[in-house]
Symmetry: C2
Subunit: 247 residues, 2 copies
DNA sequence: CGAGACGTTGACCTCCTTCAAGAGAAGTGG
DNA sequence: CCACTTCTCTTGAAGGAGGTCAACGTCTCG
């Protein structure tokens, strides 16, 4: 079965039948969670990572007075958060944006997988490194870009990441979240996000064609605006490393 | 020898003589680099991580028009950047702030170390998770805090991290970098950082007592201001995980 | 002593926030 | 089927946090 996780890893290494079977078994029985419900609250103990099969979630951090920053939007195929195996207390909250299907992944599951196939282990590590690169790009966007560039960056990031798991095509994507989530991810007020999205529309870069459907009108100009889009690509694991692991 | 890296790991697991020897051998012969020199430019190929022994470096990312964001200030005992083993192209630049002593760490070195002692491997993973938590806190600060809180956060972060490697005491620390670096880390202009530091001084939180010497005057109030300081602590690896690895 | 790097302060301006009100869309109950 | 609420988005107007420009002070080093 071509789950989002399998699709993503297939961009990094070649996957055999056995690999796919092993990946699909990762995390055991799927669980469900209604939209809006919280999966973890900051400060709580955790003993497993979350592998999202379908639906969107949001990882965020709140300050005492209610200011909130969205660290990361968690998409199908994402594993949030693998460092739980050494660090048992969450420093963020995780909340479902849509009805969610997910599995709990324990350290044993990962270790088992990696023991069976070091190549899969390297690929998972690669995915993890990719996520760190995304966080860094996010930090650059929030720290040094104008509101216009920032919102463009976030749309580009989502478009790219959804594309990696087969949930976006070259025309656009579905964005099942409100503008308040974009605002908290960009570090802006939702009012200004609204204005900024209208401007992106007016200038022919991006358009909302249905309540949650977004169309990329001019990918080239959008990409120029974003600048730091390079790190978001997920390229194959270097051949040199793959060969070393085959031994 | 109690190098910064050893001091840091000693907070996570108990280190035996053999562990310390192995850690001190990590990365081989130390190299030197004068202040201001660039170690890696964004987009370049890398094949090793940098283990800093002494001195400060800065990891940053620049936009086309010169805007710059400091992702991370690299301190003695830090390994920058371990994901290089799967991801051979840097998406950031690394520059020495002071004369630097460092070693190149290759994937073989790490694998060797981890094979010899899985506990050291888990501890290194723990350090890596700690750094991710710092990046997330940084993102929250830049995205949702006022200039006043942001600068306070950065000083707190540096104080904490320097404390972990024995380079700060409860009074304060040496900060061998200009306010422009703080500004690029906070996503502010250096002019406003200057104003903000003066205000922190005026209000009795932090004071510069020599060109590069900073004193924490009121740690309690500073910490309240920072709010997200919890994730910066480096607590011991959970006993449960240590015991499993001893087998 | 002069040059250059760095920090400080003031004045002005701009980008974004906040406040407020209205428009659509979607669900609810009579 | 239509009034009613509710939620989200949109737009306008006013205010503020921080940026930019410019000048000056201070320290270090040649």
């Amino acid at each position: 079965m071509l789950t989002p996780l399998v699709l993503k890893l297939a961009r990094v290494i070649e996957l055999g039948e056995a690999d796919i079977t092993a990946l699909n078994a990762l995390g055991g029985a799927p669980r469900r969670c209604p939209a809006g419900q919280s999966l973890v609250e900051a400060g709580e103990r955790m003993n497993a990572a979350f592998l999202v099969h379908a639906g969107w979630a949001v990882r965020h951090c709140s300050l005492e007075d209610g200011r909130r920053l969205v660290l990361d939007i968690v998409l199908p195929g994402d594993i949030c958060d693998p460092t739980v195996f050494v660090r048992p207390r969450a420093d963020f909250s995780l909340q479902a944006l849509t009805p969610l299907s997910y599995s709990l992944v324990r350290s044993e599951n990962i270790l088992e997988l990696v023991n069976r196939s070091p190549r899969l282990g390297a690929a998972l590590w690669w995915i993890e490194a990719h996520e760190e690169a995304i966080t860094r790009a996010h930090l650059v966007a929030v720290g040094r870009m104008s509101a216009y560039e920032r919102v463009a960056y976030l749309l580009w990031e989502l478009w790219t990441r959804l594309g990696l798991v087969g949930l976006a095509d070259d025309k656009g994507f579905e964005l099942p979240c409100g503008q308040d989530v974009i605002a908290d991810a960009a570090g802006l007020s939702y009012v200004h996000v609204s204005r900024t999205l209208r401007r992106l529309d007016r200038e022919g870069l991006v358009r909302r064609h249905s309540p949650h459907g977004w169309r990329i009108l001019d990918a080239r100009r959008l990409r120029e605006l974003v600048q730091i889009a390079d790190g978001l690509r997920l390229s194959p694991l270097p051949r040199r490393i793959q060969q070393r692991l085959r031994r």
